[in-house]
Amino acid sequence: MRVWPIFKKEMRLYFTSTVAYVILAIFLLVMGWFFSQIFQYYAQASMRMAMSPQMGGQDLNVTDGILRPLFSNIAVILLLSLMPLLTMRLFAEERRSGTIELLLTYPVRDGAVLMGKYLAALAFYVVLLALTLLYPLMLFYMARVEWGPLLTGYIGLLLMGSAFLAVGLFASSLTENQIVAAVTTFGILLMFWVIGWGADAAGGAWWGKVLQHLSIVDHFDSFGKGVFETKDIIYYVNFTILALFLTLRSLEARRWKG
């Protein structure tokens, strides 16, 4: 399996194009704004709490007050809107420019091409997440932060992100238009995001539970609280594997169509 050269090539392309830097900058900027807003709100709330005699002057929990809202905001707004941009190029551009014809005639299996590209996108995402550590680290100066929820929160983000990237890769393999790839990814993710809403309408019916289980957002909750739930981990891993499998199939189907 010659995954490594493909990985290196994709990383090189990420960092020679401006797209990568724009995504990094915007992600950090918007997240910084979230952080400062949530932090101010938390500071005011805990101030009031401290002065109120009924509450006995105890501190508000940092995990619940800052980290969880921060994580769910990253998850919803940033990942949902920016992740499709990270993967849209990967196959669509190769197809548009015709380079796929060379790539798929090199002695590399389709699976290795897929893994090289996926791992490159994942590595870029890890860099992105690593940079966001800046904000929680600032908290260490100002408050008592629990390591556990911080760690599980990040692991949750990583798992969810890897599922997003796999969906993005799949969408990119379907088209030669990057915008179509990005919009398709966004649509699929959004559907999985809101699919759980149907559960409320279902009441207690069995399919309500199914919809609930399919929802991407519900599985993230426990990570934010500092809990590892096997079913949530399995959900994201399955989601990723299924999307990558479909991508591989789509690559093969494209070969037959010529």
């Binding site: 050269p5 090189r12 392309l13 015709g98 014809e101 002695p107 070969r255």
Partner: protein
């Protein structure tokens, strides 16, 4: 080295190629000729393992392109028609990537990349972004990526299209220099190119092979006689008969006679009857205006075959039948 048998490819209801069969011997440079849309690129895409055929088999270096695709891919260098390259990469890192993907070892890679850049005359642009290069340079980078792993077989789809005349000459001599150690199949619709570069040709039209073989053999096959055009200012009725008397002359036809007499003289292939005709004219005091051997070039073979297709069924011009 390359063996293609009854290869067929359908795109939905459209048949791109049907029952294409040919073979290429090791070390040979074969020209793959045909008008646009004849199925050249389709055949090359199948040979390069980019897409599977709908029917028939193809083997490259003894391996089946479909069942043993990895073995084939290790042994070929492919240059697709529009030279798709990563425009955001620089030349040297790009070639290094290709060499690595093709399995050239780390130590050897640097040497191979430098060597191939020198051969393709692109060392001077090695640090440029591929997207900023001119068409000629891109074409050469494309060729460089095809040969960087030193493959046994090269599949080049229109390698000289869009180049200026000087670049064409350079690329041609580069391809020629590859003969012997590499087996090359190159497609083109520039006929003189084939006569210059290739030892034999495969002519394809409307998805089917219409002729194949060494160039001189093809010419001989399609033009079994040699032809001379004669124009005589005061050509009278006795002229054709007088010329028919020349030994070796097979036929004399009068083409048109507006004032002058114009004749096409056919003789045996090896016979050059021009000097005899000249002597005859001098003897008879004909006023000879023109005496010209009609070229029996590949171009005419090609035109004859491709145009002949319209009237004659494929089998009638299939050279295999005569052998």
């Amino acid at each position: 080295m390359i063996e293609v048998q009854n290869l067929t490819k359908h795109y939905g209801p459209v048949t791109a190629i049907r029952d294409v069969s040919f073979r290429v011997a090791p070390g040979e440079i074969v020209g793959f000729l045909g008008p646009n849309g004849a199925g050249k690129s389709t055949t090359m895409r199948i040979l390069s393992c980019f897409m599977p055929a709908s029917g028939g088999t193809a083997t490259v270096a003894g391996y089946d392109v479909f069942r043993e695709s990895m073995e084939v891919r290790k042994r070929i260098g492919y240059l697709p028609e529009n030279v798709p390259l990563y425009t955001e990469m620089r030349v040297a890192p790009y070639l290094d990537f290709v060499a690595e993907v093709k399995g050239v070892g780390r130590g050897e890679r640097r040497r191979r990349v430098a060597d191939v850049m020198e051969r393709c005359l692109i060392s001077d642009v090695q640090n440029r972004l591929i997207g900023t290069l001119s068409k000629g340079y891109r074409q050469r980078v494309g060729l460089a990526q095809a040969i960087v792993s030193d493959p046994h077989v090269l599949i080049l789809d229109e390698p000289t299209i869009g180049l200026d005349p000087r670049q064409i000459t350079e690329i041609r001599s580069l391809i020629k220099s590859l003969a012997g150690e590499h087996t090359v199949i190159l497609s083109t619709h520039i006929l003189p190119e084939v006569s210059m570069v290739c030892s034999s040709v495969v002519i394809i039209n409307k998805g089917a092979i219409v002729a194949q073989g060494p160039i001189d053999m093809l010419v001989e096959q399609f033009f079994p006689s040699s032809r001379v055009e004669v124009e005589i200012a005061d050509g009278g009725p006795g002229v054709p008969d007088a010329m028919r008397a020349i030994p070796g002359v097979l036929s004399v036809t009068e083409v048109k006679a507006d004032g002058a007499g114009r004749y096409v003289v056919e003789a045996g292939r090896a016979r050059d009857v021009r000097s005899e005709i000249f002597q005859l004219a001098a003897q008879q005091r004909w006023r000879l205006r023109e005496l010209r051997r009609v070229g029996m070039t590949l171009e005419e073979v090609f035109i004859r075959i491709v145009a002949g297709e319209e009237h004659a069924p494929v089998a009638a011009v299939e050279p295999e039948a005569d052998k």
